[in-house]
Every structure is written in structure tokens, then in C-alpha cells.
Amino acid sequence: MKSLIKVALSGVALMALSVTGQTASADAIADIKAAGVLKVGVKADYKPYGFLDPSGKIIGIEPALAQDVADKLGVKLELTPVVSSNRMQFLEQGKIDLMIATMTDKPDRRKVVSIVDPNYYSSGTNILTPKTFGFKTWEDLRGKPVCGIQGAFYNKATSANYGAKIVAFKGTSEAYAALRQGSCVAFVYDDSAIVAKTNDPAFADFEMPLPTIDDAPWGLAVKLGEDGFNKLMSEMIVGWHKSGRILALETKWGVANTPFAKAMHDKHK
């Protein structure tokens, strides 16, 4: 028990230290310029938002946005691959200066990192299905087998709200195989990934017909307390929406323009 209290106390002390540490160096922009390198955390396994090319270089929509930021600051860009479970920690620890990693903007995340307004992107849940079924609403899935990924949060929503029978597999390849052989009528997944799949010639007879649900905006983030950097990023995002940069990147990487990106472009035009 005594040691437990000790651990708890030292934890509190550490937290206090880190808080004071954050307020001490509040100007990340000056630090980045002094170092001459901007370190950005991006996904490396999420085609086409951030993935590896055959030579092992990270490319995609988010690395391109990161390059824009580096150009604006006049420094070199250094990309660090992150995954969902470590991206916020990397930012807190100072391993990266900026995170553009398909992160859904949520209130509890805003307590840990400084998410920049406005949101730069958005995605939700949709289905990939053969065109022959002609599904129009989510209710059309009632009682039919729908493939999914084991552990995805929308499996429960799809079966509880719309009565679909979820047939969940370990990975996306198994789910796509089951969909193609007709074991299920649709595959419920992230709309951003499905859009990329509909451009695949092998899936020419498939479509994404339903309105996207659970649409959640993505936020890029800087370290908590870096208000100056946050403001700069906010201006950059408005600039991207204004110039149609996001729409252009979507087109470049073979993604149909998403409603969110179009709406933001119209708003800031």
C-alpha cells in the first residue's frame, strides 16, 4: 500500500513537472525554425491518406499537407510513422511537432492535445456493395448478412440500429474475399477506405450507395499550449480549404471528392 501511494505521488509530481515544462517553451515555431526541421507524425498504413511507396517512402494526402507546412515555415520535413495508439503520446513527448494522422476529433482528445480548428477532413461509416442489390437506405440491410471487421465499433451500431447480421472477419482481405464470393451482401467499413476501393478495377461492379453515418471530423493537432503554432495551422487549414488543395489531393490520389471537403471549399471560397 505504501509503495502504491509513493507511485501515485511521484506520478502527480511528474504531471506537475510536465505542465510547467509545457508553459516554459511556448513558441514551437521559433524552435522548429532554429532546428531547421519540422517533424510530422503521419499514418503509414492508411491508403491513400498515408502509406508507403515501393521504396519505403511515406506518401499520400497527409504527407503532402505536411510538406505544405514545412514549405511555409521554410524548413525541411521529417515524417514519422505513427499508429492510432501512440500518435497523441508522440506529440506529448515532443517526438513530433505536428500530427496529421487521420485522427477523429473528440472532446476527450482535446484535453490531451491541441486540436486545430477548423477540421481538415472528415470520414464516417458506409458500405461497399455490388451494384446489383441497389441498396438505398441503411434499413435495406435488415436481416441480411453484412461483412465487417472484428472489433470495429460500428458493427454493434449496424446490427442494433439497422438489423443487419454482421459477419466479422479478422482483416480487410478476408472481408473483401467473402464479399466477392457472395457470403455477405455488403462490407461495412470507413467510407474513406471504401472510396479508394471503388476505384480499384477489380471492384468495378461495386458501389458505396448509402448516406455516410457516424460522420466524424478529423483533426490535426499540435502540442497542448502551443497557441502560436495552433493559430498558424488554423490559417493553413483555411488556406487549404479556400484554394481547393484538399479537393485537388483527393483527385490526385483517386478518391472521389468527399462532401465535407466540398462543403468546406464552398464555405471558405
Partner: protein, 248 residues
């Protein structure tokens, strides 16, 4: 009953021990479905693998060379490959080659679904072991017993059915017991081809509620309980079939 369920919600609020498959109606229903699916899959596979074992052991003693070769080939293939690979092979490779049938929602689905393939592949997998287990029993039956039956004019099938098998069964039971226990545990592999059994449902529940520890403990106890029932039943059967001076 509701008070009982609510107590577990209270338990979660006060202690952090999260058992949603008791207090949440949706999670409870899918856990119960998963439990029955495991039992259904286990019983189906136990039944068919035992039948395969008995028939296979008989065919192994066939005077026809090619029958013996086919049975031995079957044993080699199914005993020497991992059951998970077999399941993927059946579901994705063989499944897509099968003729398609029209479904009531206007599509075309493969003839056999994931449950059927899981039952088939697990039955054949355990069946391959069962053939060898029954063979060990058959070979333990004294040659003189069979010669006596032949002298009395029994046919080959009659000898196997009425004399060899009943005696062989008593010798094989301990080994058979072992293999069937393994089979019940191997049914968890079926979640790879989306058969909604206990592990599959538990996996989804712990993903939704982030209560991996609680679900793991529950799963362990649930399988311990299920296999315990099987072992108890098999031991009872062994006891009831005891013949003085044979197979002890």
C-alpha cells in the same frame, strides 16, 4: 431478474469490474447465442468425427487395396495440416468453387455457409485422428476372436459391427476422450471464418467495452465448464461399458 442484472451494472460503477454480457441486454443476447453456437458446433463435430473414425477404421481393414490407400491418404492430409489452414482453404478456396444458390434477398451466395464449413473441416480434422484411435482398438482385439466369428459364418461387416467395434471401443475410449476434448477447444478457430461462437462474440464485446481482462477470465471459465461436462460424460460412459477383465 432485472435486479440481478442491475447489480452487475452497479458492480461496474462502483468497482470497475465490467461484465456487460450480464447487464446489457444486447451483449447478453449475443453471448448466449455464442454459447449455443459453440455447443451446436461441438456436438455436430463430436458426432460426425466419431462416425468418421468408426467407418474409417473399418475401411482401413478392407481387403481392397485402393480403399485402404484412400483412407490412409485422407488421414495424412488432415492430420498433417493445421485446422485453421484447412478452414480457410474450405471456406475461401473450395467455397468459391461451389455452385451458388439464390438467396431470398435476390443475391447469390455460396452453397455452404461458414457454419457448415467449420463443421465439415473440424469433423474431418478430428475424424482423421479418430480413425487412428479406433485402429489401435481394433488391433487390440485378439485374432482368435475374429477367427471364431468367421467360423460361425459372420460377414465382414457383422464381425466389425457386433464383435470388433464393441471390444475396440473399450480400448479406444481414453484416447478418444482426449481427442474429443481437443476438438471442443478447437471450435474456437471457427471465429476466423466468422462463425459467431463464444470467442467471436467475446472478441466483439471486449472491443466495444474495452474489458479484455474480464472477458478473458469469463471465456476461460466457460470453456473449463463446457469441457468439464464432456469429460464427466465420457468418464460415465467408460464406467458403464466396463467388462471385467477387458480394457482396464
Amino acid at each position: 431478474m432485472d435486479i440481478f442484472f442491475e447489480w452487475f451494472r452497479h458492480l461496474y460503477d462502483t468497482t470497475g469490474i465490467n461484465l456487460p454480457f450480464i447487464y446489457d441486454a444486447y451483449d447478453r443476447n449475443r453471448m448466449i447465442d455464442g454459447f449455443w453456437m459453440t455447443i451446436k458446433l461441438s456436438i455436430t463435430c463430436l458426432f460426425f468425427s466419431t462416425i468418421i473414425g468408426m467407418v474409417g477404421a473399418w475401411l482401413q481393414g478392407s481387403p481392397l487395396k485402393w480403399t485402404r490407400r484412400i483412407v490412409n491418404g485422407y488421414i495424412q492430409v488432415f492430420r498433417n495440416t493445421p485446422p485453421l489452414v484447412q478452414m480457410y482453404f474450405f471456406y475461401f478456396a473450395i467455397g468459391s468453387l461451389l455452385p451458388k444458390v439464390a438467396t431470398d434477398y435476390g443475391g447469390e451466395a455460396p452453397l455452404l455457409g461458414s457454419f457448415a464449413w467449420a463443421a465439415i473441416s473440424l469433423s474431418f480434422f478430428a475424424g482423421a485422428f479418430n480413425v487412428e484411435i479406433f485402429r489401435s482398438g481394433v488391433e487390440a482385439v485378439p485374432k482368435s476372436t475374429i477367427e471364431a466369428a468367421e467360423a460361425l459364418g459372420f460377414s465382414r461387416l457383422q464381425i466389425y459391427r457386433d464383435i470388433t467395434l464393441p471390444l475396440a471401443l473399450r480400448v479406444s475410449l481414453p484416447a478418444l476422450n482426449n481427442n474429443l476434448v481437443n476438438l471442443v477447444k478447437t471450435t474456437t478457430l471457427a471465429y476466423a471464418i466468422a462463425v459467431p461462437e463464444m470467442l467471436y462474440e467475446a472478441n466483439q464485446i471486449w472491443s466495444d467495452n474495452v474489458n479484455v481482462t474480464e472477458m478473458m477470465i469469463f471465456l476461460l471459465l466457460a470453456y473449463f465448464f463446457l469441457v468439464g461436462i464432456l469429460v464427466w460424460g465420457m468418464n460415465r460412459w467408460e464406467q458403464s461399458m466396463k467388462i471385467p477383465g477387458y480394457g482396464e
